[in-house]
Amino acid sequence: MAAPDALQQPMELDLFEGPFDLLLTLVLREEVDLLELPLLEVVRGALGEQARERWDAETAGELIVLLAAMAELKARLLLGEPIDEEPDPDALEARERLAARLIAYAPFPRAAAWLAERARDSAGPRYRRVPLEGAAPPPAPREPPEALVAAMRALLVAPPAPSLAHLTNRVSVPEAIGRLQAALARASSVSFDALTAGAGRLEEAVTLIATLELARRGEVTLAQAEPFGDIAIVGRRP
């Protein structure tokens, strides 16, 4: 019996530790198509409502740029790009950064696997751990009171102010999907450029992710007349 088609298998997202883990697996295992990347869930896992992390601005900003590069990658694969076209230098740089990040990340899941194996191998021995009895131990050494000042000072000094620019107009992917669906309820086809006119880079990235998610769900088809040109988002009517 033939093995089930990898493309037909739903991605078990729970098995992955995050966007880098997922993307690295997909990239190394060529039989799984990058088009199957469920970007919405990846983004939600990293930044969305379920992630309880109190992200600092710098980390969140960097992560968004990398996720946007993932979205761009998927868009490129979905829409196709002519082979002889010169790529956009900005996009190329973002992709290089994403690749560098994945390569830097790669050793840690492997080190984690080594640790897991190590824990299995060393599960057998038992330590005695019987507390020492006898005379009370002598008093602990003194500490300088200045240590308290230093510890307190670290808390009373304002940390370097991070830029919050990319967090102020925060757009969520579900919101963007909602907006896109509402637009498609009014018109059969929507222009990506029109949809994101005047939007910041983050908002544009989120809208792109939302667009790709709807394409993945089969709710819309996408068409692009020329590379880096406008994308026409066409709603599928039953």
Partner: protein, 195 residues
């Protein structure tokens, strides 16, 4: 057995924690070389034929029962239910073990996922501990604990295979780069080393 080896046997038997070499030298008032030789002698005495073994773990030396006797030992002292470490926990431990001291935002950035609750749970279980803030202020940093070293049978902090061992091989890294950067731009056989 030499007198020193006898003393060390008694000390390792009594101590609830592994004893660092320095502590053994202080307690026995002997030089490190002599203590190390006596530890070797003790190790030979507690060979595979016996029920115990001398090990270097978590920054010190310890006497413990041999792995193959785990079952009978657990009949005496019920082992607390195995607190399984989740894959996210293991990955976070690996990141901290190699890069310590490291802050939570740095861990999150490297892994691309929120590390908040994972770090909190590893601290709660004694596998990670706070390692202070940088002098110039900023986020609290973390490091692994002696309990972590004991659990993974490491001789001390940093007793890990070199990280290079886990890095992608040259061709693998190139494949990642090519699939991400060049996908859709170059035919499969183009690019590469045309220098």
């Amino acid at each position: 057995m030499t007198g020193l080896a006898r003393q060390l046997e008694a000390l390792l038997f009594l101590s609830p924690e592994p004893l660092p070499l320095v502590a053994l030298c202080e307690l026995t008032e002997e030089a490190p070389g002599a203590v190390q030789r006596a530890l070797e002698e003790l190790g030979e005495r507690h060979g595979p034929d016996s029920g115990l073994e001398v090990v270097e773990v978590a920054g010190g030396f310890a006497l413990r029962t041999r792995a193959d006797l785990a079952e009978i030992c657990d009949r005496l002292r019920e082992r607390p239910p195995e607190d399984r470490i989740t894959p996210a926990g293991l990955e976070t431990l690996a990141v901290v073990a190699y890069l310590e001291p490291i802050s939570r935002p740095q861990i999150s950035r490297l892994r691309g996922v929120a590390a908040d609750s994972t770090v909190a749970s590893l601290v709660e279980r004694g596998l990670l501990e706070e390692a202070g803030r940088p002098a110039e202020g900023g986020a609290m940093r973390y490091r692994t604990t002696p309990l972590f070293q004991e659990r993974f049978d490491l001789r001390g902090p940093g007793d890990l295979p070199p990280l290079e061992r886990f890095e992608l091989s040259g061709p693998e890294a190139e494949r990642v780069r090519r699939r991400l950067v060049e996908a859709g731009h170059l035919p499969a056989d183009a690019g590469g080393d045309d220098g």
